[in-house]
């Protein structure tokens, strides 16, 4: 469904992505793992159109994402839960969720999805009138996920959804990611918590300094000595 080939991204003189290729197939959870600065966020930003790669190709179900402006990409069924959540702090929870459905015209279905989100994340329903900026980190992460789901994505990109959360919440987030996947949404998950990510993913890619170092079945990588040594401590 998503196919990235030979991707090169520069920040000025910094060569951040050097010939990255990977693929996400329908119904999969694929994870990109790697240390700080490996290029995980850069990769997701390139896919979502937030930056323009120097070379390479990004295709989503036959659409050329390199030629698609960022604001059109969500309409093709790709949503992102960005690093650091980036909820709209001065909008209410409800308004944030509706921002997720910004492009949708099917009002009745949007209302139904909103109900579903409130069902799935009861905390958001309790706080629907509260300003997003005043919520806890965990609540904001739930909101960022729910906001992304409001666009009805076929493919959901998630950038370190467990970052900065208490262990119990981390487990909950990973459970939610699995549920989202079981409901039929394909997931591309970026994580530093390699152990947990590999445990729920089908396949994985290991990034290091802008290159794909290893790729393969998640269970296999989980047992790989080099991965164990470098990322699983």
């Amino acid at each position: 469904m998503l196919k990235v080939e030979g991707l090169h991204v520069y920040y000025g003189a910094i060569h951040a992505l050097k010939d990255i290729s990977f693929e996400v197939r329908e119904k999969e959870i694929v994870t990109l793992i790697g240390a700080n600065g490996a290029g995980k966020t850069t990769t997701l930003h390139a896919v979502s159109g937030l930056l323009s790669p120097k070379a390479g190709s990004i295709r989503l179900d036959g659409h050329d994402l390199m030629k698609t402006p960022a604001e059109k990409i969500v309409g093709l069924g790709l949503a992102q839960v960005p690093e650091g959540r980036r909820v709209f702090a001065r909008m209410s929870v409800h308004e944030n969720l509706m921002m997720g459905a910004y492009l949708r015209k099917d009002k009745a279905a949007v209302e139904a999805d909103l109900e579903r989100m409130y069902g799935k994340f009861p905390r958001l329903r309790e706080r629907s009138k509260q300003l997003a900026g005043t919520m806890s980190g965990g609540e904001q992460q739930m909101l960022a996920i729910a906001r992304a789901l409001m666009s009805k994505p076929k493919l959901l990109l998630m950038d370190e959804p467990s970052m900065g959360l208490a262990p119990i919440l981390v487990d909950e987030i990973f459970k939610i990611i699995q549920e989202i996947n079981e409901m039929g949404t394909t997931v591309l998950l970026v994580e530093q918590n390699a152990h947990k990510a590999l445990a729920i993913a089908h396949r994985a890619y290991v990034l290091e300094t802008g290159k794909v170092l290893m790729e393969g079945d998640a269970k296999t990588l989980l047992d790989d000595e080099r991965v164990k040594h470098a990322y699983l401590g």
Binding site: P69, M91, M98, M99, S151
Partner: protein
């Protein structure tokens, strides 16, 4: 007491004009972090459009106002597209200098086209002032306050309840996150310039009617004072611009009434300095750190 209320009414009159103009500064700042120093000149252009619509074309006030709003909106969008958009990722100082350049360009173009001499703006609402005891309330004052109030309520409704308004809020908070929602950031910025400029045009027409004239440099003073109002209220904060406008109008009017006309401008501008020194985020501004 009568004197006090009279000054208060005058303050509301000029204050509502400053508030309208301040909204343009604050909306543009909120969305692209740029002090659009050409905004004062956009209101000058709006006033000229109104002037010609009323005199050369003999249009009724409502249509003259509409023409000024539409043309100023288009001008604001064009300025953004030609002058500011190419600099969106450049250091902020570049855009600021460009804004000053656009301001001088507009002033000098209008001087070239229509001469430096002020032209007399027709007194549109030339009827007897309403007398309440010793109070004199000119109909223009009432119309100015009502019209400005209607514009502000309209703006608030747009921002709160329409998709465009939500897009504006989203982009001003986090333009990348807004893009991820499917919001067209460039178009949203363009619409913001259009709305801010249209409000500026209303302010420009009301200002020129209040002072009976139009001239190429007329945008500078109200522009600067509205800028002070926007900073005082908290730049980027929409209710702040309204509040700031009324405060500045009040301060100016009371200074003129109780102290002396010559002091009014000095006092208004010292407010700018005081705000910048003691509370740079303004009355309603948040002390949050700025996002990059």
């Amino acid at each position: 007491m009568t004197q006090f209320i009279q000054q208060m009414i005058n303050g509301l009159h000029v204050g509502s004009i400053y508030a309208l103009i301040a909204l343009g500064y604050t909306m543009v700042y909120g969305i692209v972090k740029l002090i659009n120093f050409a905004h004062g000149d956009i209101l000058m252009v709006g006033a000229y459009v109104g002037f010609f619509a009323l005199t050369a074309f003999n249009l009724p006030f409502g249509l003259a106002l509409l023409a000024a709003m539409v043309l100023s909106a288009l001008l604001g969008m064009a300025i953004d597209k030609v002058a500011y958009k190419p600099l969106r990722n450049a250091p902020r100082i570049s855009a600021l200098i460009t804004a000053l350049g656009v301001s001088m360009f507009l002033q000098n173009t209008f001087r070239l086209l229509f001469g430096a001499n002020p032209r007399k703006m027709p007194a549109v609402f030339n009827v007897q002032p309403i007398l309440l005891g010793d109070l004199r309330i000119p109909p223009l004052t009432i119309i100015t306050i009502l019209l400005s109030g209607a514009c502000m309520v309209g703006l608030e409704l747009i921002i709160r309840f329409t998709k465009t308004g939500k897009a504006m809020r989203g982009v001003s908070e986090d333009s990348k996150a807004a893009k991820l929602m499917g919001i067209n950031v460039d178009r949203t910025i363009s619409i913001t310039f259009a709305i801010g400029s249209a409000l500026g045009a209303v302010g420009g027409i009301l200002y020129s009617i209040s002072y009976y004239q139009v001239e190429p440099y007329m945008g500078m003073m109200p522009g600067l004072k509205a800028f002070v109002a926007a900073v005082l209220g908290g730049i980027g904060v929409i209710p702040g611009a309204m509040l700031g406008g009324f405060v500045i109008g009040g301060v100016e009017s009371f200074t003129k009434g109780y102290l002396s006309t010559t002091w009014a401008d000095a006092i208004v501008f010292s407010i700018l300095i005081l705000v910048l020194v003691f509370k740079p985020s303004g009355i309603l501004g948040k002390n949050t750190k700025e996002k990059v």
